[in-house]
Symmetry: C2
Subunit: 345 residues, 2 copies
């Protein structure tokens, strides 16, 4: 059975302004300064698992040209252009209805486009195991990231007893916890970060969506029959795959997890980018041609500038793209939406 | 007798990097964000005193195209391209030898290209008085700026008794003083900043240079006879007009001054630019599309960027031009040469 990969690439990455903008968001940026954008790195890590012609990208219609440019190997018909963002359940449903048309036995991996994995070999090993497990079963495997800290920014899966090899049953999905609860999860050892990466057979997904979200399944059937994406897709409920399918499926004992440790990060904010980039001895992490004097713990991303000289900054974000510059304290990064929309002095 | 203006525009403005670079220095930049560059403002303030065809610019040969672009009214033959910088005495000598060829009765004002004058009407009044005084006399008038603070960054002229109207005798030129001496000067009241603006008849200058710097006069005569600027000009001694001519002429009682108060600044550093720009209520002065949050006492010049957002900066310089960005503490501005030539982290 052939493997297919569905990449969800509709996010706008507003927390990385001005690096990421609604016109050119994070997943299309070389945020690590490694020469590859996040979506390109996402494709790269499925090398050997999925042939180029079996990739699918679901994105907003305004990003279609960027996707074609950055992933030239993808068939144009595999770029699914959402006329409006409807969260992950309709996004995954559409892709799987399309895959089901061409190969009703396909194995499918669904992945975000904007996370990083520092150990792709281990990622491929886990993905291979998950595909082996789901190819013969009516089951979904979610990758459960072994937590390294009591993170309050992620959802968790509560792992239960072992099914086979590394595969554990998922007893429940847990929403973003408070710090106390996150500490308890870390201590308990059987709570894993929900990375939003799912593996299942296409028939399984379609069946789960029919069972747990029949309204969305109905819209998908009509879209498949009429091709009227613009009219029908926006009618879907805005709902995540976790709420729509995973939670009820877990309650029915049909969701499994493989605990994974492949250097995953969702790169959700400057803090996590700072952690993933290399640091100088003063804790500065820079992408771009940057010279620092008496600077500590800064994170700098300004590849568009020819040269950046910074002096006397402790704990700042410095970011530039397309003529927009942000300098702010790292402690204030949750205000970046305010800064990006703010008034001029 | 016709008035001529000689604009000295050979400086490299290294203290304003990256705004000012050796390829495009300060005098050619709209540093005040008013729509006119410093050299254009210099031309503007002689409106009514000097007709466009009587301006002369002495500059480095690499800036000739910029001068032609910024002052299209100037005759091309009036742009004197120095093959090498030789300080102000050879620069002024060359211009005056040229003016002497076309009009041996000309009255001449010599001025830097990179200072600002906030009250051009008063400037013109003083210049008119100086030209009246020197047109019939073998004398030089230097503008003496009434000091507003005990500045240690400027040379001073020591004014003596009144000659006529506002014109005083200059008893001596004084080099940049220590702070204690500068305070004494301010207290005494008869010490004025030497703005480097001189008014004299062309025959007077030529005569003074022949008298006090015969070596330079000899090179000028040979240049006039042969046209061999490239070979001869660099042979001139590197010396300022103050040392070469003003000091000995003052000792001979041939230098005069008009105390002036027309909002002059040499814009020699970011501190003086910060003073001349308008401030917001937090003491920030900005040229460019700048939004500030919790910023105080910053000076920002980044017209090339579409948008700048700054947060949490107190007392910083933020400057960008042509893809080069500097963020540094204002207290460290004397290190800008180090920053501009520094190594990359």
């Amino acid at each position: 059975m052939a493997n297919h990969v569905v990449i969800m690439a509709g996010g706008i990455g507003s927390r990385f302004w001005p690096l990421s903008t609604p016109e050119f968001p994070k997943q299309f940026i070389d945020i690590l300064g490694c020469g590859r954008t996040l979506i390109q790195l996402t494709v790269d890590r499925f090398q050997g698992i999925c042939p180029p012609e079996n990739f699918w990208v679901v994105t907003n219609e305004k990003y279609v040209d960027i996707v074609m440019q950055q992933i030239p190997s993808i068939p144009e018909s595999h770029i699914l252009a959402e006329p409006a963002a409807r969260n992950t359940a309709p996004c995954i449903a559409w892709a799987c209805w399309e895959i089901n048309k061409v190969d009703s036995n396909a194995n499918v991996v669904v992945t975000p486009s904007d996370a990083v994995v520092m150990n792709p070999d281990e990622f491929r090993r886990i993905a291979g195991n998950a595909l082996d497990f789901t190819s013969g079963r009516d089951a979904v495997v979610t990758f459960g990231i072994k937590p390294g800290r009591p993170e309050t920014g992620y959802g968790y899966v509560q792992a239960g007893h072992c099914i086979q090899g590394e595969v554990l049953r998922v007893d429940a999905f847990k929403e973003k916890p408070t710090l106390d609860v996150a500490k308890m999860y870390l201590e308990a050892g059987n709570y894993l970060w929900n990375a939003g990466i799912f593996v299942w057979n296409v028939g399984t997904i379609v069946g789960y969506i029919r069972a747990y979200k029949p309204e969305i399944a109905g819209i998908m059937d009509e879209m498949a029959a009429t091709g009227n994406v613009k009219g029908l897709f926006p009618q879907c409920e805005k709902i995540s795959i976790d709420y729509a399918v995973m939670e009820p499926a877990a309650a029915d004992g049909r969701v499994f997890t493989i605990p994974a440790d492949f250097g995953w990060s969702d790169l959700g904010n400057w803090q996590s980018l700072h952690e993933k980039l290399e640091h100088d001895r003063n804790g500065n992490a820079a992408v771009g041609n940057v010279s620092t004097y008496e600077c500590t713990n800064c994170v700098i991303h300004a590849e568009g500038l020819k040269r950046i000289v910074l002096q006397g900054l402790d704990g700042y974000i410095v970011s530039e793209k397309n003529g927009q510059l942000l300098v702010c304290r790292r402690s204030e990064e949750q205000r970046i939406n305010e800064f990006s929309s703010g008034q001029t002095v």
